[in-house]
């Protein structure tokens, strides 16, 4: 009995460290996540904002994954920022990522005061998703649209630092 209780207590604490299924880290405020949204050195960072219930978001994920695989030896990192409710991770987000075979780095941002941080990503962003930010030491640009595979490659090529 004691063993079961201590396992339960352990699991209870694990659930509050902000991880879900070892796969998706939950950031509870924009301040918490802002550090990982900064590119390092001459690496370009592609940050995609999406949600499992957003049809155009889900439709472009395979294209992003395809480019990510092709560009694995280039100086670019891909980050998928999921805006789903944390309660949806197990039954919606993880199954969706598995179904589409998405292995890109996915995190969840749980900061519902969107007005306080949308402009920090880019003042031109209306808040509609999907939207993607491409950022490196030369600057940044926000794309309020979904990408096809070809478009994404072209846009990334334009930003990559050789």
């Amino acid at each position: 009995m004691k063993k079961y209780i201590s396992i339960l207590i352990f699991l209870y604490f694990v659930s509050y460290t902000g991880f879900a299924g070892d796969k998706i880290k939950i950031y509870n405020s924009f301040n918490e996540i802002s550090e990982i949204l900064k590119p390092k050195g001459d690496t370009t960072l592609f940050i995609n904002f999406w949600a499992s219930w957003c049809k155009p978001c889900v439709e472009e994920l395979p294209a992003i994954e395809k480019v990510r695989n092709e560009y694995s030896n280039k100086k670019i990192k891909f980050l998928l920022v999921c805006l789903d409710d944390p309660s949806k991770i197990e039954n919606m987000v993880l199954p969706l990522l598995k179904r589409l075979d998405i292995k890109a780095h996915v995190v969840l941002l749980d900061d519902t005061d969107y007005n306080s941080w949308i402009d920090k990503i880019d003042p031109s962003w209306s808040g509609a998703i999907p939207g993607s930010l491409i950022i490196n030491q030369n600057g940044k640009k926000f794309y309020e649209k979904s990408f096809t595979y070809a478009e994404l490659k072209q846009v990334i090529n334009n930003h990559l630092i050789p």
Binding site: A51, C54, D85, Y114, N115, I118, G127, A128, I129
Partner: protein, 199 residues
């Protein structure tokens, strides 16, 4: 000749770049069909004070999450001079649930106490510059015209009404009712993009 071409092209590009109404803009009137099959004309529906135009839809989780709160806001502010009107701008070919029948069902299920009209030609949402659902435009009457006084979202927590700390829309309406300027006058929010195949 060259100078006038330059001025003309500057004006043209300004018209193209301006994507929707800004604070202080006078809006053009519209007449759209309500779920009861009757036509609603904005200028006639608005009171002496103004009206709250809500671009929304049937399927977006953000829009749905705000329905009860918007119904409550209408019940509080309609008698004070700011009734709500729901406008669905989506193309039902992209989202079948946003068909007129779907709207009628939703209005019936939720007992909407305000009109729910369809932006059939998708011209109205473009004029306003609405980008996601839900997207609020508060209009106040000034010298017989309707002028944009607040643009944006309802509050800072779509998911949990109990955890709301900033009631952006209610605060804006309270300010306008005492002839003050809303602060903030514009807010942003995540939401589903408006579904338009010609975008």
């Amino acid at each position: 000749m060259k100078k006038s071409i330059l001025i003309l092209s500057l004006i043209c590009s300004a018209l193209v770049l301006k994507a929707g109404y800004e604070i202080g803009d006078e809006v053009s009137d519209f007449s759209l069909i309500n779920v009861d099959n009757k036509e609603i004309t904005l200028s006639e529906y608005a009171t002496e004070k103004g009206v709250v135009v809500v671009f929304t839809c049937n399927h977006c989780p953000y829009a749905v999450a705000y329905e009860d709160r918007l119904i409550a806001l209408h019940k509080k502010y309609a008698s004070k001079g700011f009734p709500l009107i729901f406008v669905n701008p989506n193309d039902e070919e992209i989202v079948p649930g946003d068909s007129f029948k779907g709207m009628q069902q939703r209005a019936k299920d939720k007992k909407f106490p305000f009109p729910y009209v369809k932006d059939e030609t998708q011209e109205i949402y473009k004029k306003y510059g609405a980008t996601n659902t839900p997207h609020i435009f508060v209009l106040t009457r000034k010298d017989g015209k309707l002028v944009v006084s607040y643009i944006g979202t309802i509050d800072d927590n779509y998911r949990d009404p109990e955890s709301v700390t900033k009631t952006y829309l209610a605060d804006a309406l309270d300010a306008l009712l005492t002839n003050k300027t809303p602060d903030p006058q514009m807010t942003k929010a995540i939401g589903c993009s408006i579904k338009d195949k010609n975008k």
